[in-house]
């Protein structure tokens, strides 16, 4: 297939500083936060308007060129990995907050807006955007929508999907569709298209404009740290809190390795030498929180914790969360390589799951650091390995696979919030039947008949290969572009 017209058309849309084709530029985009996968795209385009995105997607459809839309590239599942012979649509400059209406508690934003910037903009109205993935200071809302991102505080008010009211998207074949509204009810009438689009991992198209709901900032937080001598007791403490009928805003557990890593990055004030640390945070109206706090302290005191600390001010609370949110990356201090998993188990099976992970860790001779959203059973085992050793990555991935299968066997899921992406696509059959997967693929093909929108993600074994560009591009031959 001749791609000169495609590149020529891109050149008509983008000035050369927004159409990156030099090898050095493309290299910088070849990985997201999962560096075990690298693919150099053919080009990176940097649109500055919705129209440019729409035109680009239409061109891709016309010429059968695959693309991935990318925000800050913080995906831990390889979700924003470029596609070979495809282009990257970098949405970072579509970063306007188009509307912030405190009276209706909504904001209308473009996909390149950083998650935390919404809360910062809403702060003066005493509002915030609730979903808080650990990378919230950098990750974009477009990426959050694509992967239905979660975070530590999703226990009470849900994940990204629960906070999206309206979407304007360009589907993979170039049709622009709007659904949902500024109403809290969102779609409200007819099938919930927002539910379908959020978490579709970019397989349907690109979100251009996103209406999010904002919440009033909790008046009071009570953040409790409880230290335990073993993980299982901490896991049981979670079950006790859940059973008490209280609804904390967040409930997290970190194990010895992750505490050590986080403490070395941030002076978070975690109790030293704890085998397991439980973080419970209550949030809300002060009278209610104070009363809940008394109750929860009773529960925790009964749970076998040997040391309980309560954050005494906002700064201490922030440090606790900074340590927790940087935990994955700080594990980089312990080991140059690790695999992060994101499996979910039913909450009552937490203790069992942790024991099994421990057993597998010993069987494989690999350290596993555990840091997880205990309140909703979302595990994040980090399997440490040394990539320099022959076969080490494969060995670690085999262990990761066993953990995921255990999660499914316990009635859980292979991913709670990171998405399937590249990394977990081969485990989808453990969770879904052939019919389930085939049905999802059929829906995908109805929306994206040429399978050009982020192909290769989510489904096992990839999809029908996208049309390939072969040979030297005429513009390349003339020295106008270079792909290397």
């Amino acid at each position: 297939m001749d791609h000169q017209p495609f590149f020529a058309a891109l050149q008509r849309i983008y000035p050369k500083e927004r159409l990156l084709t030099k090898g050095v530029q493309l290299l910088a985009y070849e990985s997201d936060a999962l560096t075990s996968f690298q693919t150099k795209p053919s080009a990176v385009v940097i649109p500055e308007s919705q129209d440019e995105v729409i035109e680009t997607v239409r061109l891709c459809h016309q010429f059968g060129v695959p693309y991935v839309a990318r925000g800050s590239g913080t995906s831990l599942s390889g979700g924003s990995l470029p596609i070979e012979n495809g282009i990257v649509i970098a949405l970072n400059r579509l970063n306007r907050i188009k509307k912030l209406d405190p009276e209706q508690r909504i904001a209308v934003v473009e996909p390149g807006v950083v998650n935390l910037q919404i809360s910062q903009a809403a702060d003066r109205y005493n509002l915030y955007y609730a979903p808080d993935p650990s990378s919230q200071s950098v990750c974009t809302i477009g990426g959050n929508v694509a992967f239905n991102s979660g975070g530590a505080h999703c226990l009470k008010y849900g994940m990204t999907s629960n906070h999206i009211l309206g979407l304007k998207v360009v589907l993979a074949d170039g049709e622009v569709v709007e659904f949902g509204s500024e109403s809290l009810e969102g779609v409200g009438v007819g099938p919930d298209l927002i539910g379908l689009f959020v978490g579709s991992e970019g397989l349907f198209g690109v979100a251009l404009e996103i209406t999010v709901r904002l919440l009033p900032k909790p008046e009071l937080y009570r953040t409790v740290l409880a230290a335990y001598n073993d993980l299982e007791t901490a896991g049981n403490a979670v079950a006790m809190v859940v059973a008490s009928g209280l609804l904390p805003g967040a409930m997290e557990i970190m194990d010895r390795l992750s505490i050590k890593a986080a403490e070395s990055a941030v002076d978070a004030g975690y109790p030293e030498n704890a085998a397991a640390l439980l973080i419970v945070e209550l949030e809300g109206e002060s009278e209610q929180v104070e009363t809940e706090f008394e109750e929860i302290m009773d529960v925790i005191k009964e749970s076998g914790s040997y040391e309980i600390r309560v954050a005494k001010d906002a700064e201490q609370r922030l440090r606790i969360w900074k340590g927790r949110k940087g935990a994955f990356s700080s594990v980089g201090r312990l080991s140059p390589d690790y695999v992060v998993q994101d499996g979910v188990v039913p909450r009552s099976h937490l203790g069992k799951a942790l024991a099994e992970i421990d057993r597998l860790s010993q069987e494989y001779g690999l350290d596993v650091a555990n840091v997880f959203h205990a309140g909703d059973g979302n595990l994040h085992p980090l399997i440490l390995f040394n990539g320099r050793e022959e076969g080490a990555l494969e060995h670690a991935e085999e262990l990761a696979g066993k953990i995921l299968k255990m999660c499914v066997e316990l009635g859980g899921s292979i991913t709670g919030e990171h998405g399937v992406g590249m990394e977990k696509r081969n485990y989808m059959p453990a969770m879904f039947s052939e019919v389930d997967l085939e049905t999802m693929k059929t829906i995908r093909r109805q929306v994206d008949p040429k399978e050009i929108s982020n192909p290769g993600k989510m489904f096992p074994g990839g999809e029908a290969p996208a049309l390939k560009m072969t040979g030297m591009h005429p513009l390349e031959a003339k020295g106008i572009i270079s792909r290397e």
């Binding site: 405190p102 009276e103 209706q104 005493n126 239905n148 979660g150 849900g158 999907s161 629960n162 569709v177 709007e178 659904f179 509204s181 500024e182 109403s183 809290l184 009810e185 779609v187 409200g188 009438v189 007819g190 099938p191 919930d192 298209l193 539910g195 379908l196 959020v198 009033p216 909790p218 079950a239 009928g245 009278e287 209610q288 009363t291 109750e295 994101d342 979910v344 039913p346 909450r347 959203h373 909703d376 059973g377 009635g411 859980g412 991913t415 709670g416 919030e417 399937v420 977990k424 989808m428 969770m431 879904f432 019919v435 389930d436 997967l437 049905t439 059929t442 829906i443 109805q446 929306v447």
Partner: protein, 365 residues
């Protein structure tokens, strides 16, 4: 014609052998559940019962034909509940019907509606295949979120077999505060100030009273020891930050009875047509303006984000909604046209329909 499968296999063969199917649960929303134009009733009421309920997990899985009241009763035994107040429980609404119609009562305000609590679905698609989406755990990002997609799908994409929900611990006590305002303007202003206030409410309903006055109903749930203080504080807030005329505290049985009436739609006049219209609070004055001539019984739930309108003629309402560019869903009214007003995004819905039901076994979307 009416067909009533009692097993999954029967359901699958019915779908394979028939056309024009309309899955029906308790039949409490006649505009959605009345077969018309030769459509076939697919009565799902025999696929009923709770399959799995682990109170410690705060999740359950049940057949879609299970009456919601069965669920509510089972949950209540363990101090748990579906926070979105599924309506028409006493009348026999089923889980499947609540999902297909996307109906949520006043409790939708704080934690969200049906879409925010459904976590898994198994359904038989237009080719008679059993398809699963989602799962049984509260957090799950694997595959397309078909459970959410099915919320509001009105039986157009397949017949639900069983569904999984997450649930919450029910507040141990409730109190309702009813505040009266001279007109719509100050009532809406009060909503806007409450939106950014720290006071937490499970319900924030707006209702039209006589003489052009409007009432705000605020329901507070939580620990009983904290409630009196919270109510006082809310009253103080209303007195200082809004133009409230009067307020009244409703407690205990009176509180429970009030919300049962509201969520049972018993305030809707007999024989009227009744529709749900998602709206944003700032558009309420516009809607109120055009509704003047119809003078419907009405109520706005979720802090003025959902309008419930009882009118004498749905056609007129359809016209008005088209003018205002507001989509609506008819619950009580003539069969055959549940969707009124504009249909944003319907082209995408039709593509999914093409994937799930290519030969049109279920009704057109």
């Amino acid at each position: 014609m009416s067909l009533q499968p009692t097993t999954l296999e029967e359901l699958q063969s019915i779908v394979k052998d028939n056309q024009g199917l309309l899955p029906i649960g308790g039949g409490t929303k006649p505009a959605l559940s009345t077969a018309f134009n030769g459509a076939t009733r697919l009565d799902m009421s025999r696929l009923s019962g709770i399959i799995e309920y682990e109170p410690g997990e705060y999740t359950f899985t049940a057949y879609a034909g299970t009456p919601v009241r069965t669920i509510v009763a089972a949950l209540a035994e363990h101090g748990q509940y579906l926070p979105f107040d599924p309506p028409l429980i006493e009348q026999g609404a089923t889980l499947g019907g609540v999902i297909a119609a996307n109906t949520a009562g006043s409790g939708r305000y704080r934690y969200g509606g049906v879409r925010d609590f459904i976590i898994g679905v198994r359904f038989v698609d237009g080719q008679g295949q059993l398809v699963r989406g989602g799962g049984k755990v509260v957090k799950n990002a694997a595959g397309f979120d078909l459970p959410k997609f099915m919320v509001g799908s009105a039986g157009r994409f397949g017949a639900f077999v069983d569904v999984s929900f997450k649930v919450f611990p029910e507040p141990r006590a409730y109190v309702t505060l009813k505040a009266v305002f001279a007109s719509l303007g100050p009532a809406l202003e009060a909503i806007y100030s409450l939106f950014t206030a720290p006071n937490e409410m499970d319900v924030l309903d707006l209702e039209s009273l006589d003489d052009g006055r409007f009432g705000l109903l605020m329901r507070l749930g939580g620990l009983s020891t904290a409630l009196p203080g919270r109510v006082e504080r809310l009253q103080a807030f209303l007195n200082t930050k809004t133009e409230v005329l009067s307020n009244e505290v409703i407690q205990a049985e009176a509180d429970a009875a009030l919300w049962q009436q509201v969520n049972g739609f018993s305030w809707v006049p007999d024989g009227s047509h009744f529709a749900k219209v998602p709206i944003s609070p700032k558009r309420i004055p516009l809607l109120e303006n055009v509704l003047l001539s119809l003078n419907p019984s009405r109520r706005y739930t979720a802090g003025g984000n959902v309008a419930w309108l009882a009118v004498s003629d749905i056609e007129q309402l359809d016209m008005l909604l088209n003018k205002l560019n507001l989509p609506g869903l008819v619950l009580f009214g003539p069969p055959g046209r549940p969707f009124i007003g504009p249909r944003p995004g319907v082209s995408l819905a039709r593509r999914v329909k093409q994937a799930l039901d290519p030969s049109g076994k279920f009704l057109e979307i």
